[in-house]
């Protein structure tokens, strides 16, 4: 049952992405092209999503725990580091070039559009390559901690 409900949450997200225009690179790039063919639509996506989540999260967190899990699993880290900012910077360059972000592209994959498939394959390659390199670097720097 919980798997079915989780599927429906995915449907809501995917439908939201489809209506929002986030799955359309031409529209995403135009949002950032203030000096050219500017389309401010995506500000409405962001506004609607953040305000809804801000209010809804606060209602949900009145509960001691989520419905199907023992605890809320929320990132606890608060420190800003170079890795976070470098990653965000690189992500932005890629988003500006391709026009797809992961949340826009994954629902679009449902259309089996060739360009979306190519983007997602390159996305996965970038994700796996980064995981591989960073875990190799971590092993090299601290062989004892990696062995634990």
């Amino acid at each position: 049952m919980r798997t079915l409900w989780t599927f429906f949450i995915g449907v809501i997200f995917g439908t939201g992405i489809a209506f929002s225009g986030m799955a359309n690179p031409a529209k995403v790039i135009n949002f950032f092209d203030v000096a050219g063919t500017w389309d401010p639509s995506l500000a409405f996506v962001m506004g609607g999503a953040v305000v809804t989540a801000f209010i809804g999260y606060r209602l949900v967190w009145r509960r001691a725990a989520p419905i199907y899990e023992p605890t809320f699993d929320i990132p606890q880290k608060t420190t800003l580091d170079a890795r976070l900012l470098t990653g965000a910077g690189i992500f932005g360059v890629g988003w500006g070039i391709a026009g797809f972000c992961p949340g826009g592209a994954l629902p679009a994959l449902g259309t089996l559009n060739t360009q979306v498939i190519l983007f997602v394959l390159a996305l996965i390659a970038g994700m796996l390559a980064t995981r591989f390199v960073s875990s190799a670097l971590a092993r090299q720097q601290s062989p004892t901690s990696a062995a634990q």
Binding site: T6, G14, N24, V45, V50, G89, W95
Partner: protein
């Protein structure tokens, strides 16, 4: 390439995205980040962990077809980038979201909604570099 300004459809879409984030928190206690969901589906910590991510992804793929059922056509997908650039962009997005622990949904929506300083910093940074990249490609390189 001009695109039509769609404040109502975009706002409605945004509210649905936010609603999905809230429901995932309510049911599973998790952040609705596309990067995290995909990464965890490829390299799951356990079978249980894989199941909810796979269900969520499968639901996402159905999204454009719900749009089709309501609108009589699939959502528009126009890619201005040539294929090699699309691949370069995709790879960079993959590197960036992995290093930076999240993307537009995880940091931009969920993180900002829970007032995370890391997410505000991340969102400011990627919005800036996306804007600079679009400006460079459209107005400096292309001009």
């Amino acid at each position: 390439m001009e695109t039509e300004f769609t404040p109502f459809a975009s706002l409605a879409g945004g509210v649905l995205i936010g609603l999905a984030a809230v429901l995932l928190m309510l049911l599973r206690g998790r952040i609705m980040g596309a990067t995290g969901v995909l990464a965890g589906a490829m390299l799951p910590a356990s079978r249980y962990d894989w199941t909810w991510r796979a269900a969520l992804l499968a639901g996402m793929f159905a999204g454009p077809w719900v749009f089709f059922a309501l609108q009589g056509q699939l959502p528009q997908i126009e890619v201005p980038a040539a294929t090699p650039m699309l691949l370069v962009g995709g790879f960079l997005v993959g590197v960036g979201v992995t290093l930076g622990s999240g993307c537009t949904s995880g940091h931009g929506v969920c993180g900002m909604a829970r007032l995370s300083s890391r997410s505000f910093a991340s969102t400011a940074m990627f919005m800036l570099t996306t804007g600079l990249t679009v400006y460079a490609l459209r107005h400096l390189w292309g001009a």
